[in-house]
């Protein structure tokens, strides 16, 4: 079946603009995760959704970052008033509860 998909693949924006990044998880996966990967670095956890439970937002770096998930399907990560330090690859992953996380190909965000 289809894996995790993310769109767009690349996004270039100007400082101060808002951006939306989309993630389509594997069908049936109730858990969804967003991570940020700065150039040459490991992945930093941002937010985690599990079914209808309240999301774990403990990794969001500032109130400019927010995310939503519609039921157990699509998720959108929104960054408001982007800054150059937001430039990174944003990776989404999905899983069954407590099981292996499957990653999407990521969105490379460049803030000019």
């Amino acid at each position: 079946g289809a894996g995790v998909s993310q769109s767009p693949s690349n996004k270039v924006t100007e400082k101060g603009k808002d951006v939306e990044l989309r993630c389509d998880p594997i069908s049936g996966h109730t858990a969804l995760y967003w991570y940020r990967q700065r150039l040459g670095q490991g992945l930093e956890f941002l937010i985690y959704f599990q079914g209808n439970s309240a999301p774990d937002k403990s990794g969001l770096p500032s109130d400019r970052f927010s995310a939503e998930r519609t039921g157990e399907s699509v998720s959108t990560l929104t960054i408001q008033r982007t800054q150059q330090e937001d430039s990174a690859v944003y990776l989404c992953a999905s899983s069954l509860p407590g099981d292996e996380q499957f990653f999407g190909p990521g969105t490379r965000l460049t803030v000019l």
Binding site: Q41, G42, L43, Y48, Q50, D56, A93, G98, P105
Partner: protein
């Protein structure tokens, strides 16, 4: 706090030879999982191997094996018979059992396999 440390930013190995990537971690949990992920230039994260902390036997997946030293909190990855397609960034990651939340990643090791 849980942390993962990879002290080798870059490594290289000749094709067909063996290479070992190091990883140390810190956690107060008694039950957890450890993973090695591969990230080629395509950015796609691929699970290479996993180890449950309660298992003493080291995990093996074809040419990939780990040396899990629980007391020392060490989790190294050995790649045997290295292939050009193994060229990638490798990440060590920690996950608390029973928690469907986040993975804690190390900084990564860039591996170059030379022909």
């Amino acid at each position: 706090a849980q942390t993962v440390t990879q002290s080798q930013p870059e490594m290289s190995v000749q094709e067909a030879e063996t290479v070992t990537l190091s990883c140390t971690y810190d956690t107060s949990e008694s039950n957890y999982y450890l993973f090695w992920y591969k990230q080629p230039p395509s950015r796609q994260m691929i699970l290479v191997i996993r180890q449950e902390a309660y298992k003493q036997q080291n995990a093996t997946e074809n040419r990939f094996s780990v040396n899990f030293q629980k007391a020392a909190k060490s989790f190294s990855l050995k790649i045997s018979d290295s292939q050009l397609g193994d060229t990638a960034m490798y990440f060590c990651a920690l996950f608390k059992a029973g928690n469907t939340g986040k993975l804690i990643f190390g900084q990564g090791t860039t591996l170059q396999v030379k022909p």
